[in-house]
Subunit: 148 residues, 4 copies
């Protein structure tokens, strides 16, 4: 994955994952179905959060992230075979929310295939209400974004 | 499905489909995964387009819709078992684009579970460029939206 | 769903669910993808187990079913739009295992689209070993299969 | 992927693909859902067929493979994060059918996570009937299986 460092479109993305397009990702139009980049966004978001130390894999002590909104612009029609590099970066940290930007880069097209953002809220599943993003997560995000 | 006519949140939606939540729609958080409402949006969008006479099922004569953007706000954590009613209505018809609004209503919660919109463009797959939404599709949309 | 009682292929299936084929269930061959009937099997299996009183939705007290094998014969190429009725019945109860038979009936084709079976084991997730199918589940299965 | 050559379980598999487990592959039991290895089987099957020169990506001249049966034994409960290596090999070539064996190896468990087989038939979609597996495909399979 080291070569993703040479892709200008991904320069600002501290977390990048690489996935092959699978044949079954395609729908009856012969293109990657629109739900697939949304799954890729999820995978890149979790890859990012893992690196901040946030317990994203399980809901621990009733605390976990919850997705409240997603937006995606589809730029290219992707087909199998191809390989995509999916970047995630945090654009904004609010009181309880974090806005993550996503970019999907197609190796075959050598261009951005989709980009968008998701808004997650740190959530107390037990009390069913948002909680403030903890200080250690804020610090980890700042480190990843190179703002410290 | 006739009872969906009694759901105020869906009053403005001329096309409504009803689907059960499947157990496998849930992810490791025990809730319906975020990609699932995006699939529901797609199904409701196609249900709407079918009623306008647009050839949505196959790309015929190289013409078909192409999705260019999607937005979804997740309002409730859905769980199996539940039944959802998904409404679609056209908010705007541009030159080559159509903006569709979607609403997912949970029968268990008796409330809106998710809402959002998608932007589709009528596209000539052969020449790889957008084309003007045909007049008969415009008329069909106007009829469905009760604007004629 | 009451009309599924008139489908001879489903006469022996005490649990039947009905689902629409979704457009997005289709792959690049323009047919329902092979993973989709496997999801339908899962949904019908869980529908059956729910009726036996088994806690299938969550792992409770560390006990839950675990799938150990699946087999599917694909008989027809399904397309959107269509509606499928999926039947589940128990073919055999062993010490810790239950063999479930599945049948997918296509309303459009008026014929069996796929059939197969799955083997589940009642499992203690805490101790990571199979446990004997409890007596009340055995009785519930016998009642459903009309063998009491 | 070169290191997959050192995995004894995959020694006999001439085609191997490597995929990360995605967080969203997990279901409400916190394990990879049973439909996911079926998708992996598909991806490895297509990877194999690509190497035989068979036009698997599109239906060309109305000829293409069609899946008629699948079987999967689930051996391990997989979780995110993990990486899987999926092998495919041809066990038998009949008149119009090819039986493919699949093996999913988990890097985290250092063991076989699932194995099974699929039966594909070479099919004339235009006339809707099976056709004999062409000689060049037979030769390509023999070469891949090291039987020439």
């Amino acid at each position: 994955m080291s070569n993703t460092h040479e892709i200008p479109q991904l320069f600002e993305y501290p977390a990048v994952i690489t996935l092959p397009v699978q044949w079954g990702d395609q729908d009856a139009f012969g293109h990657v179905n629109n739900t697939v980049p949304i799954r890729w966004f999820e995978s890149s978001r979790i890859h990012y959060l893992q690196q901040t130390g946030w317990p994203t894999l399980k809901i621990e002590e009733n605390l976990g992230p919850i997705l409240v909104a997603i937006h995606c612009n589809y730029r290219l029609q992707l087909e199998f075979p191809d390989t995509v590099h999916i970047g995630a970066r945090v654009a904004r940290v609010g009181n309880s929310s974090v806005t993550v930007q996503h970019l999907v880069y197609s190796q075959k097209h050598q261009d951005t295939a989709a980009e968008g953002k998701s808004v997650i809220v740190f959530f107390d599943y037990g009390r069913q209400k948002p909680v403030r993003v903890p200080e250690d997560i804020r610090s980890a995000i700042e480190r990843m974004e190179g703002k410290t």
